[in-house]
């Protein structure tokens, strides 16, 4: 038995290298596509090249005659057993929701939609035969783009009668959380500063490293689905709810999953088709998408037009903020589709004390790939809007952008603070994070250099961008999610199995796909239970093992799942204490638990937790009033979200001759409460930053007017590599704001970098050329866009539509001058 006295110092806070990395990095592991079953058949999908068309006929004869083809099936070959793709978050009771068949028989609504599936003995033969399926289409007019959709001239789904799906509204005056924003706007119009802007959140593609893959084995007592998914539990529920198979007959496994970024938070047509085909043929089947298919048909993210009105007094104290979003759902409302922009509803007021606030979100349907969660989901959009427009306010007032923020932010002594959006922020210290970030960044020196370059008229100008972000994460509170009409709760489940040999298995309902749960959760258990880190095994992602769970997204695994684990461990210790008292013939009141060992106060008598596990297993001697087990489980449902925050500072160099931009320095000071593993946190922040920077500078999914995805490969959809980024300066406050809603004091970090970085970068680019007459550059800030922005005033080019003020005709346009 392990000598527990020898276990090292505290695990929490230790830079543990990730125990799962060796197999993940070398690939000697279980990706879904690595799974091979006896008699397994392979699927290839036939996809529509048209964005909107009726299906006239599907001729499968040539494909069926192709070598080793077992079956070719189209939409009309299936009945109800195919099920439907669900929308789990109808945001309003009157939301217009188009029916979403995994494989429609009559009409396709986006390019890439599946119209037939080929089943063959090898993947290559399936692919060859798929090219022989002859589908005749009658092409219909397609509606592409938010503004076109709003006109309702061409309809994505003619039977709905409109492209407008739902209008979701939050108004602080109606909610009683603040005053009337229209009154604030009227006052600012006559006696203050009014800033109106339209910002575009371009469409993005999650672009996870492992393409989506699914294997279905119908030959067991339970039908088993392996899927490269973030959400095995939700997937199992949805399969049961839509395909008529009892939930007890379904086992879903998310084996090792190579990244998701929200892109695998989906119940996909491909999964449903594989499920139906396997059941139809009673054979195991596999489908693995190509990268081209992934870019075209796995869900996209963001895609909003943001119409913003910020009212302030002449000193720059914000008096009201009105937000109208138009959000592109794509052709269908995906599992959380319409809810993603609504998640931003509570975040546009960010870290600030705004007296009034109104948020409207109009979702629209278009003939494009459906959109859903992408890292940050709703909160990057909100953070971008507010942090961009706060810079505009600083310009109007004529003060440093950090100064304007400080005038408006919640001071550290004001926590807990209930915001104008109705959320209660438990802890935070924006002053401390900003001070630390400024110091580490060398803010004053860079400002001095910027001034010098401007005066010199240097070809390369320097800009400094600020983003003081917060976010609501750790999704979570089930009652709040219920009040928003979300289709599930937000609790998490964990169990602890004390094995006979003293080793520990913990089971979590979170479903890691690259985050490092195996390591971080082991550290938590090692500390809390007092066992060696190496003795803890983390099990997840298989509904036979982790029977309850709500999976991994929304920066929730640690702050919700980790807390469930703590509660389960505490129950183990309670049970073990009862057994220990019995074995030591002592009173429970006299027992102390430390370092994995119960000792009787004032004596040298004691018993280790491992010995108690063995004793419970043997069950030769245990109290009458307990079961012979010290295992325990817990389900945790927090009462509040979780509010990490930070100050991000970015310096960008802009070559004014070419428009090329280059990152000079990036510093972030994130306050995320207690840090379990600094190395994992650094990894999350670095990766998150690059993803957010990529939205600012590189990534954009573009459809042409016909609805074809122009950026359909990585030649045109530009993902950065290490060669395109710099070494980030990642720091934390010395005295972090410990979360009060979980006992570990942790706050989510999985999305923080992505949420914060995008506006910091764009603010920096705009700041570099603002003196040349530039007040906005659309994302991604390509060299061409930057160059054209600089030279927009040179000729007589008309003002592009996106740069026009949206406010009412003849209204004073505050863009041109100060707040009068």
């Amino acid at each position: 038995m392990t000598a527990t006295q020898d276990r090292p110092a505290a695990e929490i806070g230790k830079d543990r290298r990730r125990k799962e990395d060796q197999r993940l990095i070398t690939g000697r592991t279980r990706w879904t596509d690595n799974i091979t079953l006896p008699g397994m058949l392979h699927l290839a999908m036939v996809r529509s090249p048209f964005a909107h068309a009726t299906i006239t006929s599907v001729d499968v004869e040539a494909a069926k005659a192709s070598p080793n083809v077992v079956a070719v099936l189209s939409g009309k070959d299936f009945g109800d057993e195919l099920g439907v793709c669900i929308n789990a978050w109808p945001i309003t009771p009157d939301q217009k929701t188009p029916g979403h068949s995994p494989m429609p028989a009559d009409r396709v609504a986006f390019a890439g939609e599946i119209v037939a599936v080929v089943v063959a003995r090898s993947a290559a033969e399936a692919r060859d035969a798929a090219e022989l399926v002859d589908v005749e289409y009658d092409e219909q007019p397609a509606v592409i783009g938010i503004k076109n959709a709003l006109r309702d001239e061409v309809l994505a789904h003619p039977d709905l009668g409109t492209n407008k799906s739902a209008l979701w509204v939050f108004d602080s005056a109606e909610a009683g959380t603040g005053s009337d924003v229209e009154a604030a706007i009227e006052t600012a119009r006559t006696d203050g500063i009014l800033i109106e802007r339209e910002y575009r959140q371009q469409r993005l593609i999650p672009a996870f490293m492992e393409p989506r893959s699914v294997v279905v084995d119908p030959t067991g007592e339970q039908i088993t689905m392996w899927s490269a998914t973030q959400i095995p539990h939700i997937l199992r529920f949805a399969l049961a709810a839509t395909t008529g198979v009892p939930e007890s007959k379904i086992r879903v496994i998310a084996p090792d999953v190579g990244g998701g970024f929200g892109g695998k938070l989906q119940t996909t047509p491909e999964e449903w088709i594989a499920w139906a085909v396997a059941r139809r043929l009673s054979k195991p089947v596999k489908y693995t998408e190509t990268r081209s298919e992934s870019l075209m048909a796995a869900h996209h993210g963001r895609d909003q037009v943001q119409t913003l009105t910020l009212a302030a007094d002449k000193e720059g104290n914000v008096t009201g903020f009105k937000v109208h979003l138009d959000a592109d759902l794509g052709a269908y409302i995906a599992v959380v589709g319409g809810g993603v922009p609504v998640l931003g509803a509570f975040m546009f007021n960010a870290i600030y004390k705004f007296p009034s606030y109104r948020f409207e979100c109009q979702t629209v349907l278009t003939n494009t790939t459906f959109t859903d969660a992408y890292r940050g989901a709703g909160r990057p959009e909100a953070t971008y809007a507010i942090e961009r427009i706060m810079d505009e306010l600083a310009t109007e007032v004529g003060v440093d952008p950090l100064e304007i923020r400080e005038r408006n932010w919640i001071k550290h002594e004001e926590f807990p603070f209930t915001t104008v959006a109705g959320l209660e922020y438990d802890t935070g210290n924006y002053e401390a994070a900003t001070a630390k970030a400024k110091e580490s960044f060398g803010y004053d020196a860079l400002r001095a250099e910027q001034k010098e370059r401007r005066e010199r008229g240097d070809r390369v100008q320097l800009g400094i961008g600020v983003s003081t972000f917060t976010e609501m994460c750790g999704l979570a509170p089930s009652r709040v999610l219920g009040s928003l009409d979300y289709g599930a709760g937000g609790w998490e489940h964990a169990s602890v199995r004390m094995l006979a040999t003293g080793k520990v298995e913990i089971v979590t309902g979170a479903s890691a796909h690259g985050q490092g749960h195996e390591t971080a959760f082991s550290q938590i258990v090692a500390d809390r239970l007092g066992v060696p880190f190496e003795d803890v095994e983390v099990l997840h992602g298989d509904t036979q093992i982790a029977h309850k769970g709500l999976d991994t997204y929304g920066s929730r695994s640690l702050v919700v799942g980790g807390e469930a684990l703590v509660k389960a461990v505490d129950k183990v210790i309670d049970k073990a204490k009862h057994l220990a008292a019995h074995l030591l013939e002592a009173s429970e009141d006299d027992l102390e638990y430390k370092g994995g060992r119960f000792t009787v106060a004032g004596t040298d008598q004691g018993v280790a937790i491992q010995e108690l596990a063995t004793a419970a297993f043997a069950a030769h001697n245990y109290p009458e009033d307990m079961e012979p087990s010290i295992d325990a489980e817990a389900t945790y449902d927090p009462v509040n979200f979780n509010y990490p925050h930070g100050t991000h500072l970015c310096a960008m160099e802009v070559d004014t001759e070419t428009g090329a931009v280059k990152m000079r320095k990036y510093t972030c000071c994130d306050d995320i409460g207690t840090i379990i593993n600094p190395l994992i946190v650094a990894g999350q922040i670095h990766g998150g930053l690059v993803q957010g920077i990529a939205q600012a500078l590189w990534e954009e999914a573009v459809h042409d007017d016909a609805g074809t995805l122009v950026s359909g490969s990585f030649v045109d959809y530009l993902l950065p590599t290490a060669a395109d980024t710099i070494s980030f300066d990642v720091v934390h406050t010395d005295d972090p704001s410990i979360a009060t809603t979980n006992t570990l004091g942790t706050k989510g970090v999985g999305e923080a970098g992505t949420i914060a970085s995008t506006p910091a970068v764009v603010n920096a680019v705009v700041d570099a050329v603002r003196h040349l007459g530039v007040s906005d550059i659309q994302m991604p800030c390509t060299p061409e866009r930057v160059w054209r922005a600089i030279h927009a005033g040179d000729g007589d080019a008309p003002t592009p539509e996106t740069a026009m003020p949206h406010f009412r005709e003849g209204a004073l346009n505050q863009d041109e001058g100060a707040g009068q």
């Binding site: 290559a124 060859d128 070419t658 090329a660 590599t721 060669a723 390509t782 060299p783």
Partner: protein, 281 residues
């Protein structure tokens, strides 16, 4: 993704390769380093019945001195072109451009001749080869012929190489002691150039040669700029004035990375920078 099935031939001599090519005609595709062909096959944009791999033909690799020229075997990798002493001494521009091709993995697989024969106007080697007046040695059933760079590039993805011919080597006239710079403009490092400028100059400046990448359907020479630079002094203002002529006669594409007029602007700005760097100013 999975290519359509094809037969694979691996000849060990040019004669054997030509014979296979003669037999299969336009049903065959030549495989050099595979960095462009394999993605095309995997995305099923092309489906040849036969792929003839030149990788086993040793005589197509290597770089040698041939009096007034250096000769680069078609199957020499970008990596080897970049690092070879003869290239650095006599055709520095090629070394500089080869260093900018894609990423390290691709430079170790992709070949000099393969890239030139592929004739992607955004490829990094066409403009330098054109600027240096390279000669392309093409083997066919009837023997070999030599084509000047100005005649080699015909159109988008089209060269003077016939369907039954193979590019075997490229003769590059020695530009010993010429300064050189390849100015590549990209948004991310591994991208094809939006525009790139291949500049090499003798002295400061006796003679200048400037090639343009991705400014038309083939690599182009900035002839007007070259003429304006000949005999000029390498000052910033003078070079920039000459570079203003760089976009004359170009017809660049418009795509997500930039409209044609922006590319022409870039060509002017970057030509000035490339020439100054080549001249060591």
């Amino acid at each position: 993704m999975i290519p359509v099935q094809f037969d694979y031939l691996a000849p060990t001599s040019v004669e054997e390769a030509l014979s296979a090519l003669g037999q299969h005609g336009d049903d065959a595709k030549i495989l050099a380093g595979g960095q462009s062909l394999l993605p095309v096959l995997r995305m099923r944009l092309n489906a040849p019945e036969v792929v003839i791999d030149l990788g086993g033909i040793a005589s197509l690799r290597g770089i040698r001195d041939d009096g007034d020229a250096i000769v680069i075997g078609a199957m020499t990798t970008h990596h080897d072109v970049r690092d070879h002493a003869l290239v650095k001494e006599h055709a520095l521009l090629l070394s500089k451009a080869a260093a900018e091709v894609a990423d390290s993995q691709i430079r170790h697989r992709g070949t000099f001749g393969g890239a030139l024969a592929h004739a992607d106007p955004a490829g990094d080697l066409g403009a330098p080869a054109l600027a240096l007046g390279a000669q392309f040695v093409i083997a066919g059933a009837g023997g070999t012929r030599t084509v000047e760079a100005s005649d080699f590039f015909v159109d988008l993805f089209e060269t003077a190489i016939g369907e039954d011919e193979i590019l075997t080597e490229v003769r590059v006239p020695k530009h010993t002691g010429w300064g050189a710079h390849y100015e590549k403009f990209v948004r991310v490092a591994h991208q094809w150039p939006i525009v790139a400028i291949a500049a090499t100059v003798k002295g400061s400046i006796d003679e200048a040669r400037v090639g343009l990448t991705n400014m038309g359907s083939t690599p182009l020479r900035a002839t007007a700029t070259e003429q304006a630079l000949a005999g000029a002094t390498a000052t910033g203002d003078g070079v920039r004035a000459a570079a203003e002529l760089a976009a004359e006669g170009t017809n660049p594409p418009s795509d997500l990375n930039g409209a044609a007029d922006y590319r022409q602007h870039l060509a002017r700005v970057l030509t000035g920078r490339a020439v100054l760097k080549a001249a060591g100013v």
